[in-house]
Symmetry: C2
Subunit: 288 residues, 2 copies
């Protein structure tokens, strides 16, 4: 699925703020795709040292604002840090196209607009892994994964360059509004995360030993997300709280009303049938 | 983890009722463990024909009741069919030890008692797979998996023979009461199943196309169970409805109360911390 090496990269001087799993993988994928680019990293000194030792970055600086003269700035930190970087980049009079990989988009797109950062186009690669950090970054992390872009009116030229950029990294670009994005991820990402945590905590009530002895692979799978870092998720959940609350109400409305609904089997018959249909639609929509 | 071949099988004439994923794997594991046993299968004619063509079974009969002269009868059908087979086996004056692999235990243990089937010991292997049916059965399906047994007073000799039997198939036997079993699986198996179905249906509300485009590996994982067969689950959920309803209340109590709880981050901080602790306890309890 990955594109062949390109002689003309859409951006030549690229700054990546946050060299974690996603930012590190962006840098690795850039290196694997183009020989003729300059990569600048922004992160803590020990991360910068590791990235330089690997030959991943050409240069480093202390803050996102110092990347104002680059062609592209990719903000790959947690959501709350992205919100802080946007006004700093605007104040520095950046001429770079700025994008981010944050998990929510309304607040970030609004913050860029409020800061007067006209060259900003929001992004969100649908890639992740159980492990975070530069050590787990991979050049092929985005291969065949959708990369959502949320341009607004007037962003067309920058959105088109970013579309070429993420396509070259192997991703499948898909555009939607920041509002549609946040409604969607509330249901397919944030609600699953909240449920996994709540399920883990509900299962811990009572005779833990007996519960764990009865736990099979399905429980392990359904609670894998419950091991996620609270620090990362606090900003995501806080910036999408309204749509997540809506999704939680829809979830509750889709649960069996009481024991009687399970006893008589009416919930089971209809809910399983609808779920099978929805899952088939998901599979059809996401098939390559 | 599998035991070495045994010269003395705890049971020599074994009947398996239902040659699906679990029953078929029991038969395959018996064949792989002992050369000197006689296996009789009960299933639909086309399944019996396939099992005989593979040399999996020595013999077949039409109903569980015809296995009354065997040493062991393993009931490996859905829960409601197990409930029907128990009085039939009792009426046939069975001398066999009878066990089952059903996903709930209170109703089944009670039904065996009411039928006067004194040689019954309930069981539940913690094994399964995405795919059902004899074609997916494997001799090593139970390898290093817990196999829960729910003996009652007076069952000690039969429980001990069954313990040797499931250990020889590679499983890790663990005893608990039928009540403790059903409380545990309500939380670690039935609640996850119900949540997966409800999550799939809640995510399908609204702009399905946008939702599916934003769905990543985590959503696919959290809704994998939603593709399960309603027929199998109807009996499981119906025979454990009270404890599942309790687990659903506990789940709801562990969800964020409203958008404000997510906005301020107080739910996130405490729920993620408790979930991480519970998951560590699960990992520690189930480590081999």
């Amino acid at each position: 699925v990955a594109s062949p090496p390109q002689t003309e990269p859409p951006f030549r001087r690229i700054g990546v703020v946050g060299l974690g799993l996603i930012g590190g993988s962006v840098a690795l994928a850039c290196r694997a795709t183009w020989t003729d680019i300059h990569l600048t990293g922004v992160d803590r000194p020990e991360i910068i040292a590791a990235a330089q030792a690997d030959g991943l970055i050409n240069d480093s600086c202390a803050t996102a604002a110092e990347l104002a003269d680059h062609d592209l700035v990719v903000l790959a930190t947690p959501v709350l840090a992205i919100l802080e970087a946007l006004p700093a980049l605007a104040a520095a009079g950046t001429r770079a196209v700025v994008t981010d990989v944050g998990s929510t988009k309304r607040r970030i797109v609004a913050a860029a607009h409020e800061a007067g950062l006209r060259s900003f186009v929001g992004g969100h690669p649908m890639a992740g892994a159980e492990h975070s950090g530069l050590a787990h970054a991979r050049a092929d992390l985005f291969s065949a994964r959708r990369w959502l872009l949320t341009p607004v009116d007037g962003d067309e030229a920058n959105a088109e360059r970013l579309t070429r950029f993420v396509s070259a990294l192997g991703a499948v670009p898909y555009r939607m509004s920041a509002d549609a994005h946040d409604r969607a991820v509330a249901r397919v990402s944030h609600l699953p995360q909240v449920l996994s945590v709540a399920l883990m905590n509900a299962a811990a009530i009572g005779d833990g030993r007996a519960h764990w002895m009865a736990a099979g692979p399905a429980f392990t799978e359904m609670t894998r997300l419950a091991a996620s870092a609270a620090d990362t998720w606090a900003g995501i959940l806080a910036t999408n709280a309204d749509y997540i609350a809506d999704a939680l109400e829809e979830l509750k409305a889709n649960l069996p009303a009481d024991a009687q609904a399970l006893l008589l089997g009416d919930w089971t018959a209809s809910a399983f049938r609808r779920a099978a249909e929805a899952r088939a639609a998901l599979t059809a929509a996401t098939a390559h």
